[in-house]
């Protein structure tokens, strides 16, 4: 999983051709810590098809504010520089999977 920041977000997410799944998280958030291994597994499963990264909301206020994150974990899939899907709260693996599959089918 790539560490995304206010500085590299444009390069690593918005300018990328592939869909990019971004996990907004923080160390103080229990459900984020539960989501992390699930998302790591998905990153391996979909290697080559989708890029996966995470934003620490504590360290990256600009991106967090720009995408109006008010609840974490929030997972957003970006494609072609735009947000195309968003899931809020900690969900099961199959729900994240469904989100990715829907994006790949498009």
């Amino acid at each position: 999983m790539i560490k995304l920041t206010d500085e590299n977000f444009n390069e690593e997410v918005l300018k990328v051709k592939q869909p990019v799944l971004v996990d907004f998280w923080a160390g103080w958030c229990g459900p984020c810590l539960m989501a992390e291994p699930v998302i790591e597994k998905l990153a391996k499963e979909y290697q080559g098809k989708i890029k996966v990264g995470k934003v620490n909301v504590d360290e990256n206020p600009r991106i967090t504010k720009k995408y109006r994150i008010m609840s974490i974990p929030t997972v957003i899939i970006f494609h072609g520089g735009k947000e195309i899907k968003r899931l809020i709260g900690f969900l099961r693996k199959k729900e994240y999977k469904k989100m990715i599959e829907e994006v790949l089918e498009q």
């Binding site: 229990g30 539960m34 008010m70 609840s71 974490i72 900690f90 099961r92």
Partner: protein
Amino acid sequence: MNDLIIVGSGVAGMSASIYASRYKLEHLIFGDTPGGQGMLAGTVENYPGYVSLPGPELMQKFVEQVKHYGVEVNQANIKGLAKIEAGFEVKTDKEKYQAKALILAMGANFRRLNIPGEEKLIGKGVSYCSTCDAPFFKDKIVAVIGGGDAAITGALHLASFASKVLIIHRRDEYRAEPAWVERLRQNKKIEEILSNEVTEIKGQEKVEVIVLKNPYQGSQEIKVDGVFVEIGQVPSSVLAGQLGVEVDEQGYIKVSPGMATNLPGVFAAGDLAAIEGGIHFRQFITAASDGARAAASVYQHLQGKAPTPSWGK
């Protein structure tokens, strides 16, 4: 065949696993979230042995202790539970597992308000996890709905970020520990609105206003930036229903003081279990105690004994 399968990996499930390991029961433990609801707890100050520590940290210690006995939480998604001739079968997406006994410890989920605007504004100011989302409300005004420990601790946590916290509770007194209520009342940023209810959450892009059932300071509408819903839980007993385990009118699994359900060989522990004649009290320590007793009962059951009553001879 395994001696035991534990379904659920919160406090109750992991405590059951630790005891099962010490009873030398061959067992598996399933759960999609190691730590369960314990991961949502902010500061835990009533678990003996620790004066104060964050829920996720305490849960990490549970996971380590389970692992210490060579047991790993299996995070497979459980499709169903069934009775088979020599015991029970647990079906996941990919495989089937058998055991002579089951401990059901799937816990509970947070309860929603089910009022207009709530669903639409989730993640846009409506939150069910104050420990997760409080820092997003720095210098803002937020409402916390509820009157239990989670609501009060949530309000206190929020008060260290927000400029004002309104706690709204439908009764005129709290269910929370008096120690928390005392701290709530000492906090100048927190305002109490008792015997009142939120009937609607309004906002376009984000939460803007809450509507109250009864006027507060002359108005039924209050401007807020966030709404934290902490109104208790609903038991996750769907899987139990498939087995034919008896539940009470609220969906909690009925158990004896030895944590036995109506089905021989099936035990339940933690937040989804309701002990006959017991009180509604769901804590880290009660879940841990339930798990320990369930494991001890499984041990006795596998030896062909009924759980030893703790009274009488």
